[in-house]
């Protein structure tokens, strides 16, 4: 028996329609929050990169001033010896200063002279020295060479600073007027900043470069790679393929996962206490830095290696074992080669991580001020991120742009490493 269906009761205004509208509005809002969150994050990334590039691109060029150097024989080689030692030790500062005076307006006071000299970089004397050593026959002639300007003039030309006489600027109006005159004479140009890529650190911004830091980074990472690749692969193979399931291997596993999340600075403390104090490794040296970074990235590489090994299907192992290979032969001849691209990808990503790491290296003293390009694993050296840290601390405006430029170099290295990793993965990735 079916009762008559209840007839629709008049409910007054339709509330459910309003509620649905509200619910849909909430839905749209929620979706918008999500999109906004992603946009904000990506916006931050964009701001970060734009700031760095915007501040740093100008460091790749440098202001140079043409000077006519009179290679005065009486100043360089008065005794007419002509041997290398005399030519190396000659007072080129005096040579340069004598030539510079020709550029100054007549009748300058000593104070003004000092202002004028400080328009040029102190490195001019080394340029002249190099010129003479390369070609001693030039002695006695007058040569036009391009020397670097002082960083303040460089900043003025790039428009970062002005000039004033009230002490609010590093340049005064006398210097500005002199600079303007040099520009009018066609003696000023902007040239590619080769020094930045061929010199090590320096107190003078115009003579500072990243080559020392790059070499230090290279040596440190070489030590890291040599240690971490065999050890990481061996540990991953053992844990994934051979280790029995027991307490001991559980402990190793938990331990590796936790080690991967230990703050990097703690590894620096380990380096100070164990490597420097116990083993007496040299402070600030790439070898100590390399070992610390190796311990730091080892867990990451073991984890990556294990997942690469896990991705090789068991049928490969069974087939090899089936034709009589031993377990180690199975792994060595079949499983490992197939897992290698994955392991290498993980290693490159781990090395990229090591490349950007600076805190543990600060601890073991790689903040040393090193003016030479390091040549051995035990020499004091610094690495690129630490160089950035050091320059970021320098008060001069010229170092600010160099810091950004060094960051750009670091980011280029990182991008290259990650690109290699991505390409490797794309090329060798296999779906079983």
């Amino acid at each position: 028996m079916i009762n008559a269906l209840p007839t629709a009761v008049a409910r007054g205004p339709n509330l459910s329609k309003d509620r649905i509208k509200k619910r849909y509005a909430a839905e749209a809002r929620y979706k918008f929050y999500g999109l906004a969150a992603i946009s904000v994050a990506i916006l931050f990334l964009a701001i970060l990169l734009v700031t760095i590039v915007g501040k740093g691109y100008s460091a790749f060029v440098q202001t140079a001033i043409a000077i006519d150097v009179n290679l005065d024989k009486s100043l360089i080689d008065s005794d007419n010896k002509g041997d290398v030692e005399t030519l190396t030790q000659a007072d080129y500062r005096a040579v340069v200063r004598a030539s510079l005076r020709n550029l100054f307006p007549a009748g300058v006071t000593r104070g003004q002279e000092r202002d004028y000299f400080s328009v040029f970089s102190e490195s001019a004397q080394y340029d002249v020295q190099k010129l003479v050593l390369n070609n001693p026959s030039l002695i006695g002639t007058t040569q036009r060479i391009w020397v670097k300007s002082a960083p303040d003039i460089d900043m003025l030309r790039k428009g970062y600073v002005g000039a004033a006489d009230d002490g609010s600027q590093r340049l005064n109006l006398t210097q500005k007027a002199f600079y303007d005159k040099l520009v009018a004479d066609g003696r000023v140009r902007t040239q590619f900043n080769t020094t930045f890529f061929t010199a090590a650190d320096s107190r003078e911004a115009e003579q500072a470069g990243v080559l020392g830091a790059i070499m230090g980074t290279f040596m440190t990472l070489a030590v890291t790679l040599i240690l971490v690749l065999p050890i990481g692969i061996a540990a991953a193979v053992y844990l994934e393929e051979f280790a029995p399931k027991n307490r001991w291997t559980d402990l190793i596993e938990v331990n590796i996962n936790n080690l991967a999340a230990v703050p990097s600075i703690v590894f620096g403390l380990l380096g100070v206490a164990v490597l420097l104090q116990w083993f007496g490794m040299p402070r600030s040296a790439p070898i100590a830095g390399g070992v610390v970074l190796a311990l730091l990235v080892l867990p990451t590489i073991i984890i990556a290696g294990r997942s690469a090994l896990k991705a090789v299907p068991p049928s490969i192992r069974e087939a090899a074992l089936g034709v009589g290979a031993s377990r180690l032969q199975t792994i060595g001849h079949h499983v490992l080669p197939l897992a290698m691209p994955g392991i290498l990808t993980g290693t490159i990503i781990g090395m990229a991580h090591a490349l950007g790491e600076s805190a543990p290296l600060l601890m073991i003293g790689m903040v040393a001020f090193v003016v030479d390009v390091p040549t051995s694993l035990t020499h004091a050296s610094t690495v690129l991120p630490v160089q950035i840290f050091l320059w970021a601390d320098a008060p001069e405006r010229a170092f600010e742009e160099r810091t950004s430029a060094a960051i750009m170099v670091l980011l280029v290295f990182l991008i290259m490493m990650n690109l290699v990793a991505i390409l490797l993965r794309k090329k060798f990735e296999r779906r079983w």
């Binding site: 929050y33 403390l269 805190a359 601890m363």
Partner: protein, 460 residues
């Protein structure tokens, strides 16, 4: 250079041993490998190992022991010259001889007795190196002899070689454990030494942090104060600020990517977010110090607030940006792991997508999300470069985000950069702080990893 020649000789003989072993194995069966128990290559490897391993192990032990022995002998002759010399003073004297022996400049101005000792020191070192090289080469030869004698058709060379490889792999796997032990031991050991100067209670609950110790004992404030509460408070403040940035943005990004976005959008947005985690922290530090901090300060001044130029807010904000991908990628994983049936159930009841997310998915994924946030917190506490470059040095006990505060990591770096004297509480305090940092992050990590793992198992 001598060491280099030694290493080269040993390696060259190892390579020769491999070839010789191979040839000899083939020789004993008249060139028919099937009569051998192991492939000829294994016989070669067997011989190579006999050639390399004893010598390598010996050299490692020798290098570990030799400096101590030489120092003992030098210390002996020092005591003979000055009978009163003991303990630290003796250590210092021996160290001086050592540094004179490598520093030609200092050597030239040293006294005659010292020069004699340096000569003796160098002579001992020379004897040590020569003895080491000789014994190592003898071991190489003995290993070669023994290895080549044991090559026979029935010899189980493969098993022997594989056993060595296995043990090597076990050794490599234990390095991770050794690292942990090394961290714990070195932190504990140095922290214990610190606690001989300062009681743990004072350290953990003291309200005054000023680790600078005067050079002379008569200077004002020479004792230094090691109450770490202001340092912990500063760390917490900056961590809290960074979480206030990272958790909402990271979580909403994860939700959007897991539930709303198209595949294509996701394939672009996820790597972009992960770049944020790949940017070196020193770059963030530079960005924080030179761009964000002045911006925060100027904005604060514009609206009439007194903002320090190294405000906690600037460092925390930038750290938050860095942490976003840690929160988002882990949360994304856990949200994706929520079974589709739960969603379908909610949709079938008429829930909208956002209602499903808020009332079904997030409660279901809650443990995993908490785990990911805890990992992010541990990352923020241990982060160093951003705070070193953008946060302050002075330990202020304040909850004001516009004031300058300092953190555990900043203090560790400032205490250890520069000259390190391992008998002053100032240097040792870094290890005590490091111990606290390690323990706290370890606890956070263990809880987070267990929570995430258990959560994964729940829906597997």
């Amino acid at each position: 250079m001598n060491n280099f020649i030694l290493i080269a000789t040993v390696l060259a003989s190892t390579a020769l041993a491999y070839h010789y072993g191979r040839r000899r194995a083939l020789g004993v069966v008249g060139g028919k490998p099937r009569d051998l128990h192991s492939l000829p290559g294994y016989h070669g490897a067997y011989m190579a190992l006999w050639c390399l391993l004893p010598a390598a192990i010996f050299v490692a032990i020798w290098i570990a022991i030799e400096p101590t022995v030489v120092r003992q002998i030098i210390a002996g002759s020092l005591v003979q010259a000055q009978p009163g010399l003991t303990g630290n003073a003796l250590d210092l004297a021996v160290n001086e001889i050592h540094s004179l022996s490598i520093n030609a400049f200092a050597y030239s101005s040293a006294s005659a007795e010292k020069k004699a000792l340096v000569a003796r020191y160098q002579e001992l070192q020379g004897i040590g190196t020569a003895a080491m090289a000789t014994i190592a080469l003898v071991l190489v030869a003995a290993g070669l002899f023994y290895g080549s004698k044991s090559i026979a058709p029935r010899m189980r060379a493969r098993q022997a070689v594989e056993r060595v490889i296995m043990w090597t792999m076990v050794g490599c796997a234990t390095i991770a454990i050794l690292t942990t032990i090394g961290i714990i031991m070195s932190l504990l050991f140095e922290a214990m030494r610190f606690f001989q100067f300062v009681s743990p209670i004072d350290f953990l609950f003291g309200l005054q942090w000023s680790p600078q110790i005067a050079m002379r004992s008569d200077q004002v404030g020479s004792s230094g104060a090691f109450g770490a509460v202001p340092v912990f408070a500063g760390t917490l403040l900056i961590t809290a600020i960074s979480m206030a940035v990272a958790v909402p943005i990271g979580l909403m990004s994860a939700i959007y990517m897991a539930e709303y976005s198209s595949k294509k959008f996701r394939s672009w947005a996820k790597p972009l977010l992960e770049i944020l985690a790949g940017v070196p922290t020193v770059v963030y530090g530079f960005f924080a110090a030179l761009t964000v901090a002045p911006f925060v300060r100027d904005t604060g001044h514009a609206i009439g607030l007194n903002v320090a130029s190294e405000s906690a807010l600037a460092a925390g904000l930038v750290m938050g940006i860095m942490i976003i991908p840690f929160v988002s990628s882990l949360s994304d994983d856990v949200i994706n792991a929520v079974p589709q049936s739960l969603r379908d159930g909610a949709y079938a009841m008429g829930a909208t997508k956002s209602e499903t997310i808020r009332q079904v998915i997030i409660p279901a994924a809650f443990p995993g999300i908490v785990g990911s946030i805890m990992l992010a917190v541990s990352r923020a506490i241990g982060e160093t470069m951003i705070v070193v470059m953008a946060a302050g040095m002075a330990a202020n006990l304040t909850a004001n985000p516009f004031a300058a505060v300092t953190t555990v990591t900043v203090q560790i770096v400032t205490l250890l950069i520069g000259d390190q004297e391992f008998d002053s509480p100032k240097t040792l305090a870094a290890f005590a702080l490091g111990l606290v940092l390690f323990v706290v992050t370890l606890i956070l990590n263990i809880i987070a990893l267990t929570v995430v793992r258990r959560y994964r198992e729940q829906y597997d």
